[in-house]
Amino acid sequence: MNSAADGLCVEKVHVWRGERHVLKGLSLKVGPRELLHISGPNGTGKTTLLRVASGLLRPEQGTVTWMGRPISSSSSQYQAAMAYSSHEPALKSDLTALENLRFAVGLKRRVTLQELRTVLDCTGAGPIADLPTRVLSAGQRRRVALARVLAMRATLWLLDEPYSNLDASGIELLSGLLQAHVEGGGVALVVAHHALALDCNVRRLELNS
């Protein structure tokens, strides 16, 4: 078991969305070399949980800590260590895949275009790097979003349904990336509806209404 000082720790978090009490005193801990697979029926707060963990959403009650420090008080250090990918790919349709990565990753750390091209190659998006993302398919956009997560070189990955729209080779690729990330000492929270066939330390969290 990991101590509370390393990794992500969510403690007794309550979130209301309007009249609905979505997260009711949820607590969880994910340490290094661990992947938390979050699943559950629609509308049970999986995305809300990830948004709380990312700091986008402040819980009405409870705390989220990273490496023992509340994420709200050390948000820039936390954000530098974290890569969040929502269920939409969050790409500008008028920019090329490479430009999208350059402007998104470039705010987190200094990167060269060559490095970004290599990362795009890794996720199988190399050939489409110079196309505006408006002409890409949903699966290709997902691969570009995945490349963005990879290029951020973050310790903590928060991925909301990263498997959606991916083809068989994409699913295999993502599983490989997740496994390498976790085995390399990373932390991951992944929302997915199907079982993850991964050869690493996977814990499962089932959310119910």
Binding site: Q77, A90, D94
Partner: protein
Amino acid sequence: MTVGAWEAFVLIVRRELVLSFRRPEQLLQPLVFFLIVTTLFPLGLSLQLSLLRDISPGVLWTAALLSSLLSLDALFKSDADDGTLEQLSLSGQSLTLIVVAKTCAHWLVSGAALVVVSPIVATALGIPVAAFATMMLSLALGTLTLSWLGAIGAGLTIGLRRGNVLLSLIVLPLATPLLIFGAAATERAISGSSAVGAMYFLASVCVFTCTLAPLAATAALRITLE
């Protein structure tokens, strides 16, 4: 390896400029609106040149304010719609810096562009060349202030479906001092008297909004991001 504030600022401004130039129609729409509205007036009043001279500062400023409003709506909305605003806000850079960079870039493609084409409009309205410098400076100050006021309004109205109507209702009352003093400065410059008083007022309002509006716009954005 971390990215400094200035570097991040430049990167965001570049991003905004690249995005604007990929959509030239969005860039040109407010400018064309400005040109059309102001050139319609002389056509309608062609027989009374003296009347045209009298109303030209008001026409110029009203058209400038309304055309600036056209582009304000898109300031944060497109980024909020496609999810890139979330990515920006999680980039490790302060949200205020992001707001400042986006608003500056917005002013460059809307306000500054409007200032550049204003001599054409001024010629059509019969404003003497001697008054151009004052007119352009007053427009620059006014549009910059308006961009900042708009950033607050745009931040507040992101999540709304008919946000642009509400945005106009929020911004236009706040912009009336700009219209009054901007038009006054231009009018004084045309008549050859000193426009210093009105210009000082415009400049002070501009400094005031540049200082406080980033904080207000950031707070507005933070509320709507949740």
